[in-house]
């Protein structure tokens, strides 16, 4: 086990080092040769990686150092993304299960499910966020982060629905006949055969959804003009990019790390939940 962990760490460091070398090598080569294709390279477009990292220690206009400011922003975004992911996963799964039971319903509803994903989220997010702002829960509109989480859920449910549908149908025909021989009810077949068969498919969808929920939350924040999260930070630092490009790069780094953390959490859950033969792991 320690040998395996060591190997993983070594691989990780090797890839990280290579990416760093690629970035800095590109910057150095373009700067020394003066190449301008595809774009001119200088400290503004491609800052040094170490200056991005060093920027984290600099104070921001809020008084906090950048690393702390971004940490607060990332946690705010993480909250909406996580809640959105959870809502999207549950809605997506339930919708997939319901559509799988009734073929007529599936044919009727599926086009609208697909259509919901072809409308650009940028066009839909303001409507959703504003619309929810007028909804009243206990006399007051839902909190900002709740509205943002709806956007995240909207981006999350689709892959889960599609893969749940596909996964439920992946059960082995003989395994179905075995259930038939036990005179099993369809509810039992669903829980004891179809859902376990679908789990690898569902987890593939959840991995896609994990990162999509972070993107959804960031876009949701921006369209709703909510400034507490990473979305707000991106808009803010974007305006001052010419003065301090490293701020935006650092924010992007946080957003990426947030997405990776979500992905890894799903991966961990998959390891705990799914026990399938190697050939059945998608």
């Amino acid at each position: 086990m320690p040998a395996r962990v060591g190997k993983h760490v070594a691989t990780f460091l090797l890839v990280l080092g290579s990416l760093w070398a690629l970035w800095e090598g590109y910057k150095w080569l373009w700067e020394t040769t003066g190449w301008t294709w595809p774009f001119a390279v200088d400290d503004l477009t491609v800052p040094h990686l170490h200056s991005i990292v060093l920027q984290l220690g600099e104070p921001t206009s809020t008084g906090d150092d950048l690393w702390l400011y971004l940490l607060h922003a990332a946690l705010f975004t993480a909250k909406s993304a996580a809640v959105g992911f959870a809502i999207g996963a549950v809605v997506g799964f339930v919708l997939g299960v319901v559509l799988a039971q009734f073929d007529v319903l599936r044919r009727g509803v599926m086009p609208y499910v697909v259509a919901s994903q072809t409308i650009p989220i940028l066009a839909l997010a303001p409507i959703l966020v504003r619309g929810l702002g007028s909804v009243s829960i206990n006399g007051s509109p839902p909190a900002d982060w709740v509205r943002v989480s709806v956007i995240a859920a909207y981006l999350t449910f689709f892959p889960v629905t599609v893969n749940t549908l596909r996964g439920l149908r992946s059960a082995d025909p003989w395994a179905r006949e075995l259930m038939h021989s036990y005179a099993a009810r369809s509810w039992t077949i669903l829980w004891k055969l179809e859902v376990p068969s679908a789990l690898p498919y569902i987890f593939t969808a959840l991995k896609i959804a994990a990162t999509a929920s972070v993107v959804g939350a960031i876009i949701g924040e921006q369209t709703a003009s909510i400034s507490n999260g990473l979305g707000g930070a991106i808009l803010n630092f974007n305006q001052y990019y010419v003065l301090e490009p490293t701020n935006l790069w650092a924010t992007n780094m946080y957003a990426a790390l947030l997405g990776i953390s979500f992905f890894l959490l799903v991966l961990l859950a998959e390891k705990v939940v799914v026990h399938r033969a190697p050939e059945h792991l998608v």
Binding site: W174, L178, S181, Y182, A184, L199, A277, P278
Partner: protein
């Protein structure tokens, strides 16, 4: 044999697939008595698997009557009167060996303690002690099929339906599992209907061998196997065994089914 003592009673059964295009079975009459071990043998296309599936109410007959334990096949299925073993083990790979064996018991609503107790007995019966916590993919093909047999027997059904259960295994494993199956059959006293395309396997295991002919599937003849019980590895070397094998083979050849067992020989060479 009176129909009262019959576990399975089939009369005037036929099965047509599609819109009358393929007649899989025609005019089948068969009685299987309590405690019998009956093999169905015949070339591919003789409908032996279809016949087994009709007894299990997985496929419906076009004509004729099937009763299992004196009830309709459907009623018998709803009452969980039979256990079934397929060509493949059909284990749920997300379940451990123990949980696979317990699957039908969960359906029957047995409580946890009772299930655990029965699983323990079953694991002992098929000699898989120490593998309870393993997942199916960690076992060999022969062990997987033993789990499948344990699962089929776990709720003590009066009838065991087996559809070429050892067809995918190598010759050595198959012969060992044949012996094991006979021991289990003797211990449990269940009735077995066993589909195979191996003549020697059919003769070795059965009390009666039902020889079927193809297109349309009919019963070409029934051979009573009077080899003494319990049968052992040396049973296969007795002159009477060879006589019976020859008898079954001649019946099969009379049906024009020369391909029986030759494909198997080719298979075991590859293995």
């Amino acid at each position: 044999m009176s129909s009262v003592a019959s576990v399975v009673s089939i009369a005037g059964l036929s099965k047509v697939f599609g819109k009358g295009d393929v007649t899989a079975l025609q005019g089948i009459d068969l009685q299987v008595g309590r405690g019998e071990f009956v093999s169905l043998i015949g070339p591919s296309g003789c409908g032996k698997s279809t016949l087994l599936r009709i007894v299990g109410d997985i496929t419906e007959p076009t004509e004729g009557d099937v009763t299992v334990n004196g009830k309709s096949a459907r009623r018998a299925r709803l009452d969980r009167d039979y256990g079934i073993v397929f060509q493949a083990p059909v284990l749920y790979d997300w379940r451990t060996v123990a949980k696979n064996i317990a699957l039908p018991l969960e359906m029957l609503g047995w409580d946890r303690a009772k299930r655990a107790e029965r699983v323990k007995d079953m694991v002992e019966l098929v000699e898989l002690n120490g593998f309870e916590k393993h997942h199916p993919w960690q076992l060999s093909g022969g062990m997987q099929q033993r789990v499948s047999i344990a699962r089929a027997l776990s709720f003590s059904p009066a009838l065991l339906l087996m559809d070429e259960p050892f067809g995918a295994l190598d010759e050595m494993t198959r012969e060992r599992l044949n012996l094991e199956l006979l021991r289990i059959w003797a211990e449990t006293g269940s009735t077995v209907i066993f589909v195979t395309h191996s003549i020697s396997e059919a003769v070795f295991l059965s009390t009666r061998v039902v020889v079927m002919s193809p297109r349309p599937g009919r019963i070409a003849g029934v051979v009573s196997v009077d080899l003494p019980q319990p049968r052992t590895a040396s049973t296969r070397e007795e002159p009477r065994f060879f006589e019976l094998v020859t008898q079954v083979r001649e019946l099969l050849h009379a049906t024009g089914a020369d391909e029986v067992e030759e494909p198997l020989a080719a298979e075991s060479e590859i293995v």
